[in-house]
Symmetry: C2
Subunit: 297 residues, 2 copies
């Protein structure tokens, strides 16, 4: 049996980045935090914290810190149900999501879930929708918004609907690069935008609508906001999520490259079964919000 | 002397993630790309490409790919000046920027620079303003928007002005968490938002205005858009960049936690002196745009 005060100290250090900040969070002295870590490292017979700015964890340290947070979260849920109020905002819930979901529809779900379960604090990791499930598989998050239907071992997958993307550009960009229409030839020369190395949306849309085309020149802009601003500023065309460009399309600041040629990405909410009790409020809010903003699966 | 067709093949693979996509970009067959890489790996006596999905580079491979892109960029600049038009959008310019600059003011500068130098394609890496200069120091980018004044060896630093942040929250959040005013005691319990482990803005603002306060509970939301949406949805309070919340503040969807208590982050444009000729149009656009949207240094 590991000592839970020691585990809490470890989790606080890795979360806050320093012994000092961990001490402030836990309301104890810094030397108490140091003693707990020393005792825990002796107990498990290996280093757990890498001193630095910020402090980070060894592999074993990160694993134990996750364990500590999971246990604390389940305990907050259990004690809440028997009428004890857990400390508000003090229980981190690690989830992974694709950047577009985070920007387009996930935040209201988080806010709703927190209203129902005020002890939660969300720790969101952003990765591509085709890779966010990896975080769950590795046990680094307890739930993920992902494009992967098949859940990893010990997890459930709930279909959320389809996030719709439109290939969009500014009217000025269209006039400059597609004066004779949006043809495969013109697309091979017009700069597009790509979110990061994992983003296949632009090439997927090109393949679906034009078959084999040479890879167009591309900017790399790893920010949902920058991606939309970049389209409006005429930097390139890109696949933008419908909820975020509806207004710009209606106002004519953006135009679709092709009429009626959206690309849909199916999204799933994958949750660790073990942690599901602690996730009930969030799962409910995520499903409701997705039903409102995504297209039916 | 290294073979520049081989170097171009290497750079294309690492940028596009596969031999196939590199072949499409270069307009040659896949087997030509494979032969070039084999020849280059023999020439330098070590592996350069790690086969996978996507293909990535060994340390040596990444270094040579950067070299290839730098040379191509300088060549595009030189040939442009003697009247030859380089291929539009085909010359990647790697820059690092903090997420808030990318979302708040950098995109129009990129669009302006591209209008002046259409051969450029921007490859933006996002990191905290206190860490974006590290990318330049490591030679992985040729310019960076950073809060660090002192440039690394071989680089110049141009002061851009100060990006102003306001501690903001929704009116509902204020009523719920600060019914008796924004006191140190209430701040220790009200959830804030933190962009990522490197983000010190919230704790800096707390320290400047309240001295030593216990670390408040925090959500971690690594997305500028999500950060603002999170504030509006009442998830937590956070330091938001003035250009992005001006409208929400004016409309009352967000309110400042304290009147007249902004936090300013000085920003610098650091550029590699070696690559400065290829960066002239961008540097000009960045300075002009910053002068318009940032507060005077």
């Amino acid at each position: 049996m590991l000592d839970h005060n020691q585990l809490a100290a470890l989790a606080a250090i890795l979360r806050r980045g320093s012994f000092e900040a961990a001490a402030a969070q836990l309301g104890v002295t810094q030397s108490a935090v140091s003693q707990r870590i020393r005792a825990l490292e002796e107990r498990v017979g290996q280093p757990l914290v890498l001193r630095g700015t910020p402090c980070t964890g060894t592999e074993a340290g990160r694993r134990l810190a996750r364990h500590a947070e999971d246990v604390a979260l389940l305990e907050a849920e259990a004690t809440g149900e028997i009428g004890l109020a857990p400390a508000p905002g003090r229980h981190p819930l690690r989830i992974a999501a694709n950047a577009d979901s985070l920007a387009a529809w996930l935040i209201p779900a988080l806010a709703e879930a927190q209203a129902a379960a005020p002890h939660l604090a969300f720790d969101v990791t952003v990765d591509d929708q085709d890779h966010s499930a990896d975080w769950l598989r590795r046990g680094e998050v307890v739930a993920a918004v992902t494009a992967t239907a098949a859940p990893p071992h010990g997890c459930d997958a709930i279909p959320l609907g389809r996030l719709r993307y439109h290939a969009t550009a500014s009217p000025g960009f269209m006039a400059r690069h597609f004066p004779h229409g949006v043809t495969a030839e013109a697309l091979a020369r017009a700069p597009c935008m790509t979110f990061d190395r994992k983003d296949r949306l632009q090439s997927q849309w090109l393949a679906e609508n034009f078959g084999e085309v040479p890879a167009p020149p591309s900017h790399f802009l790893p920010s949902t906001q920058a991606f939309i601003d970049g389209a409006e500023a005429g930097l390139g065309w890109g696949m933008n999520p419908e909820p975020l460009v509806r207004e710009a399309l209606a106002a004519g600041r953006l135009v679709p490259l092709l009429a009626d040629a959206p690309l849909d990405t199916p999204l799933y909410w994958q949750v660790s079964r073990r942690m599901a009790p602690a996730l009930a409020a969030l799962t409910r809010a995520v499903r409701q919000r997705a039903a409102r903003l995504l297209h039916a699966a």
